[in-house]
Amino acid sequence: MLVELVIAVVMGLLFLGIHRKVIARIQGRPGPPIWQEILHTLKFSFKETWVPRTASTLLYVGIIAVAMGIWTAALYVVLAGGSILILFGIYMLHKMVEHGVGLSPGSPYAKFGGIRSVISASSEIPLFAVIGGIYFFTGSLMISDLVAYQADNGPLLLSILPAAIAMYLVILSKMHYGPFSIVEAKEIVSGYQTEHFGVWRAGLQIGDAIKTFVLLYAFVLIFVGQLGPVLLLVAMLALLVSLSFICAVSPMLSPYDSVTVQMVAICILVVWLGVLVVIG
């Protein structure tokens, strides 16, 4: 468990580095080396650190531990083949991390990031299309059951493509530099993370790393099935590169457009679910 956790942190940071590298190459820049995010995290953890005078101290510090803790729990759920309902619950609880990080320091920029994270709540709704679709098809939400189901019936990716697309959208809306990442847009400095510097930012980076790893891993497990270590890594990398590609070629949407696009996606998914229920 501990070994997997450390692997998840390192691999997640590496994935984030690859993400930046791919975006840079697509945009014709050299980009940072792929281990840059690991170096970042190390660098941040040696920086001068304090708590802003206006901050709500316990929340300011505690929310970092929450960020790492919930994704550690998510990693365990995926490894143990637990319920994807828990996994998605944790994904939505991550929203609270954004609010807490944004609202605790008292900075107006961070606060804007937090408020934007409230209005982008629509990015979570496709999850329920995923859950609904999977439950409808397989009759179970346990990852272990899903893996067994796919071993018998072939990958779910082909049979319930809309659900896969929905989950893909969900992961996309949490990637850095993506079209939906309005919570960390540059016009509000660094969004909700503006006032978390030094060690606090390093902690957020670790949480982010586990999050990236868990989401990619969960996508592969849920929609492709159990693979060997090498194939698994290849699948996760392919998924990541496709996400990076979308992030590289699409502009960041304005908050209003971002919500609108997600709403349209939700409507399409709801119609699909309705059709499923009617036909089934």
Partner: protein, 67 residues
């Protein structure tokens, strides 16, 4: 928070994390218990390790208010 408190907390968290992992490996405690302990103490350990060197270096200050 004073330095010695953070350092004590870090060492305690380190012992718990390693202990939970080892106990989980040899089967003293269940998988769920290992996971629960790790979820609580791994973040403490991470923050504590990073704060080990840097704590108390800076004065607290107002947030960033623009360029």
């Amino acid at each position: 928070m004073e330095k010695w408190k953070v350092q004590t907390m870090t060492i305690a968290a380190f012992i718990v994390v390693i202990g939970a992992w080892a106990a989980g490996l040899v089967g003293l405690i269940g998988q769920g218990a290992t996971a629960a302990l790790l979820v609580v103490f791994f973040p403490v350990l991470c923050l504590g390790m990073m704060l080990w060197w840097t704590l108390g270096k800076g004065e607290d200050d107002l947030p960033f208010m623009g360029y």
